[in-house]
């Protein structure tokens, strides 16, 4: 079977633009959550977020790109360029039809859409919104698929392209989709990842309405507390991560640096509730089992789990249940962390950001910690790497995600030279 190697990484994340800044933040134990600065958050129950200090011009975008692209699309294009440069792949020397694009996003160009809505509706006054105030880019923002086209075109890719939009598992599922396309032989290279720029009043309002985001506004820098007894909800984030994925043998032939192999992936649906999770984590566990099976690895091979760790009571119980169900006793010996404690929950983007963190953990032999975990919840009795990064060289790592809509996904990264069962 054709196998899939990760050969290039690109990131825009809270705390810094670029892979190096991202990794520095994740391993320092610092956090990038803060009081929302993009708009006045005072009407909202939750007033904190992990915002990117992102200047599109400094990040290398042209004036036309800046005008044309929503913030999420800007993140994606900047990350694509970094990932391609990192991979050393000269896409112009390849058949463009053999390069595909898969971009995850849960809420698309929501920031631009809301901004333009306010204009054409005259501040929400008009139901019959005024087309004469519509910007030419409005339709691109309306259909987030436009972001996959932008990424593909920026990369010189003319193979299959799509936005994968499965809520908060989009960033894992877009990579899973890319893996399928390489394995089945449709393409040899995928520009794959995810992007999200959801920090806007409408997102704040809808997460407020379901009490999903934390009301811990007095200490923004420690507001996101996955696995901690005092956790009180998620903190919104934003960002993008793009990976260059290549068929393993061709990557080896060209002498590419290989961060890891994406060895297994599965997604399942809980068919239970649009937002709720069952505490037993059954469907997530099924996804983990299948991803491990695809990897031909036993549960004991997993040396690190990058958790969904959103910081809600419900999630942390759910996935702890899933880890125990799938890994058995080994779950108690496996270091687990949630980087959302530091960079927040960037919805559709986070799954890809987490896979980049996994690849970097394998590369550098360092496991990022769970920040703000001072007071363990007795119900959650696994090793969640509190506060400080830990040295370790896992040969295989697991990352999981849950999304509104019931989506449960799991992905396994492994060293390509590992021995398989």
């Amino acid at each position: 079977m054709r196998r899939v190697a990760v050969t290039g990484l690109g990131v825009v994340a809270p705390g810094g633009v670029g892979v190096k800044e991202y990794w520095d933040l994740l391993t320092s134990g610092r956090t990038a959550t803060r009081r929302i600065s993009f708009y006045d958050p005072s009407p909202f129950r939750s007033q904190v977020a992990a915002e990117c200090d992102f200047d599109p011009a400094t990040a290398g975008l042209s004036p036309q790109e800046i005008r044309r692209l929503d913030r999420a699309a800007q993140f994606a294009v900047v990350s694509t360029r970094e990932a391609l440069a990192d991979s050393g792949l000269d896409t112009s020397a390849l058949d463009p039809g053999r390069i595909g694009t898969s971009l995850g996003s849960a809420v698309g160009c929501t920031t631009s859409l809301e901004r333009e809505y306010v204009v054409v509706s005259d501040g929400g006054r008009k139901w019959n919104v005024d087309h004469t105030y519509a910007v030419p880019e409005l339709y691109r923002h309306f259909v987030p698929s436009s972001m996959a086209a932008e990424v593909g075109m920026a990369a010189g890719a003319e193979g299959p392209a799509a936005v994968v939009s499965t809520g908060c598992t989009s960033g894992l599922d877009s990579l899973g989709h890319a893996v399928e396309l390489i394995r089945e032989g449709t393409v040899d290279v995928m520009i794959a990842g995810a992007t999200e720029a959801p920090i806007s009043p409408i997102t704040s309002a809808c997460f407020d309405a379901i009490h999903a985001t934390t009301p811990r506004n007095d200490t923004p820098e420690s507001a996101c507390r996955p696995f901690d007894a005092t956790r009180s909800g998620l903190v919104l984030g934003e960002g993008a991560a793009i990976l260059v994925l290549e068929e393993l043998e061709s990557a080896r032939r060209r002498g590419a640096h290989i961060y890891a192999e994406i060895a297994g992936f599965a997604s399942r649906c809980n068919a239970y509730h649009m937002t709720g999770l069952k505490p037993d984590g059954r469907e997530m566990s099924e996804a983990i089992d299948v991803a491990l099976g695809e990897s031909r690895l036993p549960p004991e091979a997993i040396g690190y789990i990058n958790a969904h760790g959103s910081g809600t009571k419900m999630n942390d119980r759910h996935e702890t249940g899933a880890f125990k169900r799938s890994l058995g006793d080994h779950a108690y010996r496996t270091p687990i962390s949630s980087i959302k404690s530091m960079i927040g929950h960037s919805l559709g983007a986070i799954g890809s950001l987490e896979i980049v963190a996994c690849a970097l953990a394998m590369e550098h032999g360092v496991l990022p910690p769970t920040a703000n975990l001072h007071e363990p919840d007795p119900e959650l009795d696994l090793d969640y790497i509190p506060l400080t990064a830990r040295e370790a060289r896992p040969d295989a790592v697991l990352s999981v995600g849950s999304g509104f809509g019931g989506f449960q996904s799991a992905m396994v990264l492994a060293r390509p030279e590992r021995s398989t069962a």
Binding site: G97, P144, M153, P160, A162, P201, Y272
Partner: protein, 407 residues
Amino acid sequence: MSRTAVVTGLGVTAPNGLGTESYWKATLAGESGLGPVTRFDASGYPSRVAGEIADYVAEEHIPSRLMPQTDHMTRLALTAADWALADAGMDPAELPEYGVGCVTSASGGAVEFGQRELQNLWSKGKEYVSAYQSFAWFYAVNTGQISIRNKLRGPSGVLLTEQAGGIDSLGQARRYVRKGFPAVISGGVDAPLCPWGWVPQIASGLLSTVNDPARAYLPFSAEASGYVPGEGGAILLIEDAEAARTRGAAHRYGEIAGYAATLDPPPGSGRPPGLRRAAENALADAGVTPGDIDVVFADAAGTPALDRAESAALVALFGPRAVPVTAPKTMTGRLLAGGAALDAATALLALRDGVIPPTAHVTGPAPDQQIDLVTEAREAPLRTALVLARGHGGFNAALVVRRHPDA
């Protein structure tokens, strides 16, 4: 030999017919569902024609508990999914727990729900935003709600490629069948008919501003002036042929024999657009040659440049006027994420009955477009059909469906 994916159930919600047979009868008769917009006051807009579904009463199809948390789009999708399962005679509970997946396409999400909540937020305050806004508007909502309602715990997905998405979702469903899942519910249903769904389409510059419903959307013709949007789409039940045989499925509309997708090169690159390549790849994937294709269901963008590009791709692939080409979407309008799924369903119905539905309102192609455009329903022995779709921004998708021996 990889598994064969067959279509065993169809659920259609379309402006010219609610339910598969009602839609098919109207489509063969050339009855159009295009008319003046009634869903909202369109009098202030330059484009005022749409394909609206007139006779859908949500309360007859959707449980009360789901009403406050669903947009019109999701209600139509849930209904189409119910019909597809009923048509196939399948109860997902009888299949393995993780055996049935769901993949749908979306374009701009549940936009009417979203507009209402944006208006609540900006005109009244955040306390007025629905607790359901967190998911009811978003792109994954149809897949999520269909999965929950039918207890589908297999792989689920959502692909966004604008109007190509219906084909991409069917291609993805076939992937899952090939991986060993016995069944996948797939397709797309969309409903962008509200001011906040309308104005972005106006901004695209591709909407027709001709407001006579019979003259507004005339793809391939010399009078092509843009497109008319519509609502609806199709949900299809895709099954592993062997699993369908084992459970004694009543019928197979056909096989998903070939699928391919491409992205156009960047504007100004001088490289050719990707539609022809998508079609060629789908044919190769199906193991057929252009001579095997009995009919083409065209993307039919309705703007002169895009129509010419599609005609040119067809002529390059098949030769001038070498294969019948049709665009029954002239009777529904372009359904965004629902359009290509409905075209696939229509192609399967054409295979079943040996008749090519017409392209309505168009008398013939423009002189520079050398295609055999079917403008009256045409009987023909049909075995294999090609369905084409393009999504705004450069997406191309092609699907080859053919009759299955178990039919």
